[in-house]
């Protein structure tokens, strides 16, 4: 019974923790302009993150060590450093976006300028990272993030022509007034938003924090293969409801407030309140995950003690980096840089960093010295290789598309 409970809890937190500020904004932006015609990019990203999260989770469960720990050892310090800098910069950018996302979410509740909220968000995140138990942080915020299911309910309540909506998703039919380059840009952005590098670092390091062993591989696989796809459905619900409410009015989504309007249109104040709870929980959860991922990646590379499962005095570098990251993230936002613009940049640069993040995982997961009999099978290798090609294509196209379309305008 307790095993079943743990399984259900894991799946639910995986669903609730799947959506972050990048998913919220990008899916609403894309939904309002393209409807579900780019659903394939989200689904592809979700499949990709399932493939690589399963590998990194398996690595953690079998070796008892997290990804970066092994990347440097297996591929040497130079490749490891390249992997570290690219992934870490993107993760840090995502961390800043998530802090901004929490502040913007709270701003919608209290109508106080988000810049006044940012420092308090920084304090709250630091306290959670310093004091809260890993499992409590993961489960509470993950479960509260389930409030975003309200987008699915809103979509249902809006009573769309399901046949037309599904047809649009299946045929990937681009609206006639949109350019192909913009369509491609948003495809890369959605792919990057779904496959954000921090997710694998957090997943694999979290596995070590939770003390996974080979016995936990089944639970881990259920979390990944059930929880993440259901989380992906939330992304599609955000896009679908934006298409139905914002699309006909030609509203382009540039603020978090606009993301919630379809829920208000469908479910009124109660629905909007639940959506706001979901915004706060999803962004706060992701802020904690990205903040931890920055600390994990640097300390694992340099071989320092890391993790919330050890006392802070035994992991000085880890906690110093967490504090420094929070302070820098807050300072960055206080320059009045637009958090939504940071979010848009972070999802595109995620796409750029993908090959450097995922190639080493594929290499380590194929190394029988680390993995023993749990080394990648044929299916995992085929899927891993296919996605490696896809992430290289997305990474190559991301910057030219960003410049050519002027960030999707």
């Amino acid at each position: 019974m307790s095993k079943l409970f743990a399984l259900a809890l894991g799946v639910l937190t995986a669903i609730g923790g799947f959506v972050d500020i990048g998913d919220l904004v990008t899916n609403a932006q894309v939904g309002a302009r393209f409807g579900l015609s780019l659903a394939w990019a989200t689904l592809l990203g979700v499949l990709g993150i399932c493939v690589f999260s399963e590998m990194s989770g398996r690595i953690a469960a079998v070796s008892g060590r997290a990804t970066f720990d092994l990347v440097r050892e297996r591929l040497g310090p130079r490749v490891g450093f390249l992997n570290l800098t690219s992934s870490m910069l993107v993760t840090f950018l995502t961390f800043i976006a998530e802090i901004g996302g929490v502040a913007l979410s709270v701003e919608l509740i209290v109508s106080v300028n988000y810049l006044l909220i940012v420092p308090w968000v920084g304090v709250a995140i630091w306290l959670i990272l310093w004091k809260a138990k890993f499992s409590v942080m993961e489960n509470v915020l993950g479960l509260l993030g389930l409030a975003l299911v309200v987008f699915g309910v809103a979509l249902w309540q809006l009573g769309p022509d399901w046949g037309a909506l599904i047809h649009q998703g299946v045929t990937a039919h681009k609206p006639g007034d949109e350019h192909l380059s913009t369509y491609a840009y948003y495809a890369v952005a959605l792919f990057g938003a779904a496959m954000t590098p921090y997710e694998v670092f957090f997943f694999s390091s979290g596995g070590v924090e939770d003390g996974w062993t080979a016995k936990d591989i089944l639970t881990m696989r259920v979390n990944v293969l059930v929880g993440f796809p259901l989380g992906g459905l939330l992304s599609l619900a955000i896009a679908g409801s934006a298409w139905l409410v914002l699309g006909p009015l030609n509203i382009s989504v540039d603020t978090l407030g606009q993301v919630g309007l379809p829920v208000a249109a469908a479910l009124g104040k109660i629905g909007l309140s639940v959506a706001l709870l979901g915004f706060v929980a999803a962004t706060l959860g992701a802020a904690c995950e990205t903040g931890l991922s920055v600390g994990y990646s640097i300390t694992q590379y340099f071989g320092s003690q890391w993790g919330k499962y050890v006392k802070p005095r035994e992991a000085v570098a880890f906690h110093a980096i967490l504090l420094l990251s929070v302070l820098t993230g807050v300072a960055f936002l206080l320059t009045t840089v637009d958090p939504i613009a940071v979010t848009e940049m972070s999802v595109v640069f995620s796409a750029v960093a993908l090959p450097l993040t995922y190639f080493p995982i594929l290499v380590v997961a194929n190394d029988s010295d680390y993995m023993g009999e749990r080394v990648n099978g044929r299916i995992a290798n085929v899927l891993g290789s296919v996605f490696l090609v896809l992430v290289v294509v997305a990474a190559t196209a991301a910057i030219p598309l960003l410049i050519y379309t002027r960030m999707g305008q």
Binding site: L108, I251, D254, Q258, F302, I321
Partner: protein
């Protein structure tokens, strides 16, 4: 002795790790300050670039006006909390103001002078209207909402007309 050297190595790793994190943070912060300093220089776009910007600006402000229209409709139905209303309307007003300021700060070619006056004029009027909506929403002056909704609809028409008159 070995314990001392182990501690020293551990501290040295700690210092290097924190140092690398600090350097990356400094690079990012300098990067954002540098990027934010762009835009201070006056822009003199070509005819094509200006026309392109005019279309984009009209689209963006039209989106802001549509957002506020939708918001007022939802407020009429009692679907949005007052704090949320304020933030959405203020965000739309701020965004429209930025777009209008940016476009009016450009130096168009002489041939685009008339279009420049028309486009910046309608963008400025849209900004003023959104300010009026913001005043009414924050004062919770519901008696003005219907008139404002009508004004927003008219403004949408003006924006569409202005976009149609900008050469493509």
């Amino acid at each position: 002795m070995s314990s001392n050297s182990g501690t020293a190595a551990s501290w040295s790793r700690t210092l290097v790790a924190v140092g690398v994190a600090g350097c990356l943070a400094a690079i990012l912060t300098l990067g954002v300050v540098y990027v934010r300093s762009w835009g201070d220089a006056p822009q003199t776009p070509s005819h094509d670039a200006w026309v392109d910007q005019a279309h984009t600006s009209l689209d963006e402000v039209s989106s802001d006006v549509a957002t506020v229209q939708l918001l007022l409709r939802l407020v009429d139905d009692g679907d949005v909390m007052s704090h949320y209303q304020r933030v959405v309307v203020l965000d739309s007003e701020t965004a429209a103001g930025k777009v209008a300021d940016h476009l009016s700060g450009e130096q168009p070619s002489q041939a685009d002078g008339t279009t420049y006056a028309d486009v910046t004029g309608v963008l400025s009027d849209a900004g003023d209207l959104l300010s009026s909506v913001r005043l009414a929403v924050i004062r919770q002056d519901t008696s003005q909402y219907q008139a404002l909704e009508r004004a927003l609809t008219k403004m949408q028409d003006r924006l569409s007309k202005a976009e149609g008159e900008v050469p493509s």
